[in-house]
Symmetry: C2
Subunit: 239 residues, 2 copies
């Protein structure tokens, strides 16, 4: 009928959130949630900022409907605070919340490590060893950013090795807020040497398939990380 199929409804804007052909083309709300999550974590949208629907939807090149859906998802993750008939705000991260956050992450990772001790495959263990080696190299070289990226990959891999979707999803849901805390804390390399050593001990416990030890070591490690971040957040109260 009409060989030229141009969208009649409206000339689509030069979208800001096009996935560049990477993913399996999810809905706009999903892309918007991912983009907003990144903007909040990296601080482009600062804590307390009002998220006006019309502004944001225009900035992202989408309409208010998928944006609203994305905001509700971020509210579940605790990144955004919804208030009835008011503009949503980027959630503030109170010090007590950081404590609670890392208590929860420690709980999940302890259980994950205990399960992983018996469920982790040799291939996964080998990958953990490689990540650990690489991370230590970055540690030795003093490269902070790749160190953190690998650190995070290690934790994620341990959780994945537990073969438990509920734990993995709960862990992912908490991850964004932990990342915010990590970025805001000054003096990020304070606990560096200690942390690398703890990672080595955790890896050894997993290799020995010692569930209790792996769980305890990982929970303590996360707890120490939380304490250190909290100190880096509260002591020098410069925003």
């Amino acid at each position: 009928m009409d060989p030229v199929r141009r969208p009649r409804g409206r000339p689509r804007k030069p979208v800001l959130l096009d996935t560049a052909g990477l993913g399996p083309r999810r809905g706009l709300h999903d892309q918007a949630a991912e983009r907003l999550r990144a903007l909040i974590v990296e601080g482009t949208l600062p804590a307390g900022a009002a998220l006006v629907e019309t502004e944001l939807s225009a900035a992202l090149g989408i309409s208010r409907t998928p944006l609203r859906e994305a905001l509700k998802l971020l509210a579940v993750e605790g990144l955004v605070e919804l208030r009835p008939n008011r503009s949503p705000r980027v959630a503030e991260l109170q010090p007590e919340a950081v404590t609670e956050l890392f208590e929860a992450i420690a709980a999940i990772e302890r259980a994950a490590a205990e399960l992983a001790a018996s469920r982790i495959t040799p291939a996964e263990l080998e990958r953990l060893r490689r990540l650990q080696t690489e991370m230590e190299a970055h540690h030795a070289a003093g490269d902070l950013a790749p160190y953190f990226a690998l650190n995070q990959q290690i934790h994620a891999l341990i959780v994945a090795s537990a073969r438990n979707a509920c734990l993995r999803e709960a862990h992912e849901a908490l991850h964004a807020r932990a990342e915010i805390a990590r970025r805001r804390a000054l003096d990020s390399r304070a606990r560096w040497d200690e942390s690398v050593a703890e990672h080595r001990a955790i890896l050894a416990a997993l290799e020995a398939r010692d569930a209790a030890r792996a769980g305890r070591l990982l929970a303590d490690h996360v707890g120490h990380t939380g304490t250190a971040l909290l100190a880096g957040l509260t002591r020098p109260d410069a925003a």
Copy 2:
């Protein structure tokens, strides 16, 4: 100007989800999510059922927009499965998923009990004792429904006593699916005597402020419950 303030736009339907003046008047999407959650848990919407937006929105007396928002929330909770360009379906609860679910709940409740051992207030402990007494009375009388209600209240109170919002929210998110498993399992009173005794031991550990013991006992208790439910779900495969 106009003393009679009738809504001009559209005669509002005799809504099916009016909160009856109970809550603080939340949005329709929130009410819809709550209603749908109940319908799925109680089995009115059976596993695998297609959730057609137009049908559901008509049934609930709302439009598709808030319904879609509610469905996305339920998808995060794992109650609904969203598929691109297809009707969402009520999620099936596979046996492996039940195992994972109770592993995760055990992890969260263990951590909660450990924290609660030092944070629980005398008033909360007193309330726990009363709930335990009441639950034992229903146990002795053979009243299944109130027993389960109290059982659930006890677990929720222990988690609340941990004073950790992240853990509490993660626990709540998993609760609906656990309730589904509980309802579907036949022979729900199989482990009854054992379960009541375990609760007594958990309460004693909390009263003694013994974090490790409370955590271990509660995690084991949840694990046993999961195992029993799994057996009740898989053995007699009659739906």
